[in-house]
Symmetry: C2
Subunit: 458 residues, 2 copies
């Protein structure tokens, strides 16, 4: 038997799945608070859905093949083409603005490198049909609130924001010609990843004067809107973009995310398809790759042969985000606990029927508790209590329960290392009858045990 997954693919054992689920839970909860609705498409799509957007060179990075019906197909490397296809197919019927999100698994055949994955999950959040910069502020606010939902602060993560139109206006005001702009974008895009001298050489090679090279490099390395307004606010090429960006920052502040956002003209997001405000999130220490990225792509839907509507969106992967949460100790301590309650024999061994034990398990589950038990009547009735409690601890239960000699049900917390383990007592008859107050008391007691543990950890 193959002992492992394919290179670059992850197995999600329960603890790893719980971490993935924690991230998904934050993605979904926040996207829903922002009134986004979830959609999904197939992980396998026609190959031309991707070559149409990215050209034939993308094929080298795809899991593509010919299916048994002779169709050229590929595992999805990104969600935007599927999103564009689905929106395009119902463009007239969908109410605008469209607010959709999805959490697809995506696949790329990357050259094998240590720790380099060939699949990841990516939250996709998109808005279609609204050109206003309020939509841009709303979009970045979704990403910020996901950070908050996961326990991250503006000291952990920074949102670096730019605007293609703003950069282009500033460049024009500096005398950069339209023909030179693509070369300048390419240099700016790589600014953080190559020495300043190399960037300067490339800008000079593109035909910029020494003074303009210096100005471009200084502005792209860090500036503020005030600086830009003072310098270019009256210039016809830049004035409108500066005012728009100012309104955008005001909307961000009103949405409560002002302290997360930095203007950073070096954020270009590659050379293709973005048309307006763009952003990337990075850990503040600068140790990891980008946490998420996105922006406005007003012409893409039409270019893909679909509907002519303004649009904007971002993608946020699970891998870098997971590394950051792990690094900051922000995954919940409850990962690894698998049940609220684990049944031990107690006094069933001395005459009570085993069926009653199963009835008790069933009644507690009906009330919503996660209940584990040993699945073997003989072992249950013969094994020493101590061994059963050990089994419950290994199973990751929060508490054990059994029946006492007097017929009452006793619950004992087994979380952490408690000197005198707290207990809680209930009437067997009340549980079997599903008595709401009995169940609520147990729920409250269990929550109190968990809280006391997580406080002692914190």
């Amino acid at each position: 038997m193959s002992s492992g997954a394919l290179p670059g693919f992850r197995d999600f054992y329960p603890d790893e799945l719980a971490r993935r689920a924690h991230i998904f839970q934050a993605w979904r909860a926040v996207a829903r608070r922002y009134a986004f609705v979830e959609y999904d498409g197939p992980p396998l799509e026609p190959l031309d859905l991707y070559t149409r957007k990215s050209g034939d060179e993308i094929v080298g990075q795809l899991y593509n093949f010919v299916d048994k019906g002779g169709r050229e197909v590929a595992l999805r490397p990104e969600m935007t083409p599927t999103f564009a296809r689905m929106v395009g197919a119902r463009a007239n019927a969908l109410r605008k603005p469209v607010r959709w999100f999805s959490t697809p698994q995506l696949f790329r055949y990357e050259r094998a490198q240590r720790g380099r994955l060939r699949e990841h999950y990516q939250l996709n959040v998109d808005i279609v049909g609204e050109a206003s910069e309020v939509a841009d502020a709303e979009l970045v606010a979704v990403a910020v609130d996901i950070m908050r939902e996961l326990g991250l602060t503006s000291a952990d993560v920074r949102a670096r924001v730019s605007d293609r139109r703003l950069l282009s206006g500033v460049l024009q005001a500096l005398g950069v010609t339209e023909a030179q702009v693509p070369a300048v974008y390419a240099v700016v895009d790589k600014l953080a990843r190559q020495p300043r001298e190399v960037s300067a050489e490339k800008l000079a090679a593109a035909g910029l004067s020494a003074a303009t090279v210096e100005e471009v490099l200084t502005l792209a390395s860090g500036t503020t809107l005030e600086t830009l307004r003072a310098r270019f606010g009256a210039h016809p090429a830049a004035a409108e973009s500066i005012e728009r960006f100012g309104r955008y920052l005001e909307h961000c502040a009103a949405l409560g995310i002002g302290d997360w956002v930095d203007l950073d003209l070096s954020i270009v997001r590659g050379l293709a398809y973005y048309t307006g405000i763009v952003f990337e999130f990075f850990d503040a220490k600068g140790e990891l790759r980008a946490i998420c990225g996105g922006g406005r792509y007003d012409t893409l839907l039409k270019a893909l042969g679909g509907t002519d509507l303004p649009a904007l969106g971002f993608g946020m992967g699970d891998v870098v985000l997971g590394e950051l949460l792990q690094d900051r100790g922000l995954f919940p301590t409850t990962i690894g606990t698998t049940a609220d309650l684990y049944l031990i024999a107690g006094h069933w061994a001395v005459g009570r029927p085993y069926a009653e034990a199963l009835q008790l398990v069933s009644a507690l589950r009906r009330a919503g508790f996660q209940v584990d038990h040993g699945l073997n009547a003989e072992r249950f009735l013969s094994q020493a209590t101590r061994n059963q409690v050990d089994g419950a601890k290994k199973a990751g239960a929060a508490a054990v329960f059994g029946v006492r000699e007097d017929g009452e049900v006793e619950v004992t917390a087994i979380l952490g290392k408690m000197k005198d383990a707290p207990t809680h007592t209930m009437s067997l008859a009340a549980i079997l009858a599903g008595e709401p107050s009995t169940m609520q008391a147990l729920r409250d007691w269990l929550r109190a045990q968990r809280d006391s543990i997580s406080n002692s950890h914190g």
Copy 2:
């Protein structure tokens, strides 16, 4: 642009995704109450993971190809081989019994037929390391409680249960030889799908006497444990299996699912790999294919080259289950609502700053509400209230809110067709301050509006 998904693949638009999520939610909630923990594996696996279990003939039904590294790979057609691989890799470290579940998307290249899908989602629930029939009862109870969680009753769905060992013992007691058993299994497996005469002919061809043919057909068409006990309870070949099945039914009764379970010796689950109690769920009207199926496979993990442990599990797909829920009107009426609250201008148009509107939206989201708004300041401040309310209705919001002339915030329900729409009033300052009692009152009021709507629907 391709206008659709590949044949046999589904796009999940938001309403369809909401139905899928409703099913997933039930799967996960119930599996967790039974202390199962979620895992997942890659959707792409080495091809030999599947041929090793099912032989080379399975390849004709797979999405298989050679990847760019020269590896023979396939999209997963089922989860059990991945489950066996993952359990096998950590067999010693995992505490037993293992209780795992997963909700993978699975892929088969079926011949194209109308409505025949090439992908579906399937809940997989498995237990490893317990031979007792308590585990078999626990397993079928998970599937029954999922039916209940989704609003189905024992009048809608029947669990048909058999035991390979019981059938084999009864056949032996009837004088069927070991060499004849596979042919008899094959006939019994198809009993419901072929005329009785054809089954009788095939049994006769296998060498059974006319009297034995009659007995086999009668027993497999419907019997009870009491009948079997009276007839075969003293026969050494059948006695143990009859007693075991009796204990199994007692455990089912104690777990509260006795009225869902019918003994049905015709349930064989194909010819491969099952070794003990097997079951399939069907809609009681008999209109649909099986809802789920599974059973005990004590020798499979070892046969796959892994660990020698008893095991049992079931799979439940999303397609037949979805058809049944749709047919019975059991999908929630909240599907299609996308937000709790939708912001309308109210008196912001007459002098209040737009930033305050965004602050209000942000404060309500921080308190957990799903809040939608129009994402355009100019339109917000100029559009007539009536048009904004229409927009909110189209957006699927439960209520609209805006600020009144006196500065209070007023919420108005827009669900259903209410003659005099109920309203709720709050202090703007209290919302901006995140006042818990204000938020709780709004939460309660919204719940009351939704309850009154779903009651009027029911």
